[in-house]
């Protein structure tokens, strides 16, 4: 329990202090939403947030496609040439330090630009970088869920005359929907949260939210950032609660559906 206190105390304090009327951490100046007002008037944060959301949505979608392909291949194709290398390529971006991913991708983009004059660095390059490691995360989730998925369902569908691609679309993908949803959301949050890689691969045109937060945080504690963090946490909390509620409802529905009795 002490361990969970350690994990959550800083977050709780942060939320508390976002409502502190005083600018100083030392002083509790009473309850006030003033920093939320200040946050909404902060145009730099607003623009950065918009950039981040756009990048994250695109990166998450691309991650979902790549990660589902990869996770499916690893879970279902058994041994194929290059499987070991493939597995390594899927795992490495998850643990290789971010500075290395950032630096190497930047150097690639710079080289591309000098060879082909494209792409100019900005939202597109951030999106590509984020899709790369986001896809790896999605593949882990998809692979894990496929491992627990009853293959007899697929075989039954094949037996009933469905073509392999139909089975994939009508049986397998709906069966792993939770992993797909979780994968997209995870890729989205990771992209929204990334500072290091985005800092490397961005150009002068695009500033993401973590970059804006970072430059203000480097100067010390900022109440506006507290307010921003609280809103971020609230959004995550609402999403998680919603997901929990949806799953509980689905579970209830499954239980109330009359079962077919064995003859």
């Amino acid at each position: 329990m002490l361990g969970f206190g350690f994990l959550y105390a800083p977050i709780v304090l942060l939320v508390l202090y976002s409502f502190n009327a005083s600018r100083l951490v030392t002083v509790w100046g009473g309850f006030s939403p003033r920093w939320y007002g200040a946050l909404f008037r902060n145009e730099a944060f607003g623009a950065a947030a918009l950039t981040s959301l756009e990048v994250a949505a695109a990166a998450a979608t691309l991650s979902l496609v790549l990660g589902t392909f990869a996770g499916f291949s690893m879970a279902r194709f058994g041994r194929f040439p290059g499987r070991l290398v493939f597995g390594f390529l899927l795992l490495a971006p998850l643990i290789v330090p971010e500075v290395i991913l950032g630096l190497s991708l930047l150097l690639l983009f710079v080289a591309c630009q000098s060879w082909f004059g494209w792409p100019s660095r900005g939202m597109l390059t951030i999106m590509v970088a984020h899709a790369t490691f986001g896809g790896c995360f999605v593949s882990v989730l998809v692979r894990a869920q496929l491992a627990g998925f009853d293959r007899a369902l697929e075989e039954a569908a094949l037996d009933l005359g469905a073509r392999p691609w139909t089975v994939l679309a009508r049986i397998t993908l709906p069966g792993i929907r939770p992993a797909l949803l979780a994968g997209w959301l995870l890729a989205f949050t990771l992209s929204l949260d990334d500072l290091v890689i985005a800092s490397f691969v961005t150009g002068p045109a695009a500033t993401t939210l973590p970059m804006a937060v970072f430059s203000s945080v480097r100067l010390g504690v900022s109440p506006e950032v507290n307010a921003l963090a609280t809103m971020f946490l609230a959004a995550v909390f609402v999403l998680v609660a919603l997901a929990g509620w949806l799953m509980a409802r689905q579970e209830r529905r499954r239980q109330t559906t009359p079962r077919i009795r064995p003859i």
């Binding site: 361990g3 304090l13 392909f69 330090p97 500075v99 630096l103 690639l108 697929e154 995870l186 995550v236």
Partner: protein, 295 residues
């Protein structure tokens, strides 16, 4: 399912494979290439490896950047500092994380789900913000010092921020979930009757732990340790926000080399050496995680 046809399989494997080759492998090769170049002022800020010289195309590569890294003690200290910090953080995560993972694995089903959720939850909240949250706590005028003074434990604020202590705290705090999850995976698969059999055969709790539980959860320990060690060794945000002038970590050195000194070739060489140092642990990590998948 094998009925997807050759083209289908090729597409499902090939698209992500190509993507990763293009945006993960190729960039690493380019890093190696640029680490052999010299820095110059211009766009791009490095010299080409092949250039037209007096005798046609000439090789202009140089190992100067590596020589610099090897001779300037700053880099060596930064590498050792990173690995030392990461290793200590890994050990601390293991010591703190093991009891937590054990408690979760032994909880009744409903509570287990809740606790697991609480461990995973930090993944969904901002890393940057969680590290930042410690600043307000550790500052000289921060909450922890205020609390300690109010309790009469200290008279003057302790220097908690911008030193080795705060970096270590930040690393452990941020990477603890990465340790707990694989440990939990290993522990939840551990057959409880093995522990009971050990007790039945006369093993006291500590002996049962050392003789049965620990050896059987080694894969989880290895996976968790590597998942903490490797990224922590290259960490930038934590040493930057929580570290002080004495904090030398290679991730921060690389960042400064790149953004402040604008010396791309040296930054690239620093990265190459780091990747080389981490390659072995990385391969080990894949082995252990693949085995976890198979189980």
């Amino acid at each position: 399912m094998t009925g997807l046809g050759r083209i289908g399989r090729l597409m499902l494997i090939g698209a992500p494979f190509l993507w990763l080759a293009l945006f993960f492998l190729l960039p690493l090769l380019i890093v190696v290439k640029i680490s052999l170049a010299e820095s110059k002022i211009g766009i791009p800020p490095y010299t080409p490896l092949l250039a037209n010289g007096s005798k046609g195309l000439e090789w202009r590569g140089t190992l100067a950047n590596y020589v610099l890294i090897a001779t300037d003690s700053l880099y060596l200290r930064a590498y050792l500092g990173s690995i030392g910090n990461a290793a200590l953080a890994t050990a601390l995560c293991l010591v703190i994380g093991y009891p937590i993972a054990y408690a979760i694995a032994r909880s009744p089903s409903v509570r287990r789900q809740l606790l697991l959720f609480l461990v995973i939850m930090p993944f969904w909240t901002s890393f940057l913000i969680r590290v930042y949250a410690w600043i307000a706590i550790l500052e000289p005028q921060g909450l922890l010092n205020q609390l300690l003074i109010a309790l009469g434990l200290v008279t003057a604020p302790l220097p908690l921020l911008n030193n080795q202590f705060s970096v270590q705290l930040g690393l452990v705090y941020s990477y603890l979930p990465f340790m707990i999850l694989p440990l939990y995976g290993s522990l939840s698969r551990l057959d409880q009757s093995l522990v009971e059999a050990a007790a039945d055969l006369g093993a006291r709790p500590l002996q049962a732990f050392l003789g049965v539980i620990l050896p059987l959860t080694l894969p989880g320990i290895a996976a968790g340790s590597l998942l903490v060690l490797i990224p922590a060794a290259g960490e930038f945000v934590i040493p930057d926000l929580l570290g002080g002038p004495g904090t030398l970590m290679i991730g921060k050195v690389l960042w400064d080399e790149f953004f402040n000194n604008r010396d791309w070739p040296v930054a690239a060489a620093v990265a190459v050496v780091l990747v080389a140092a981490l390659a072995l642990p990385l391969l080990a990590a894949q082995r252990f995680l693949e085995r976890e998948h198979a189980a």
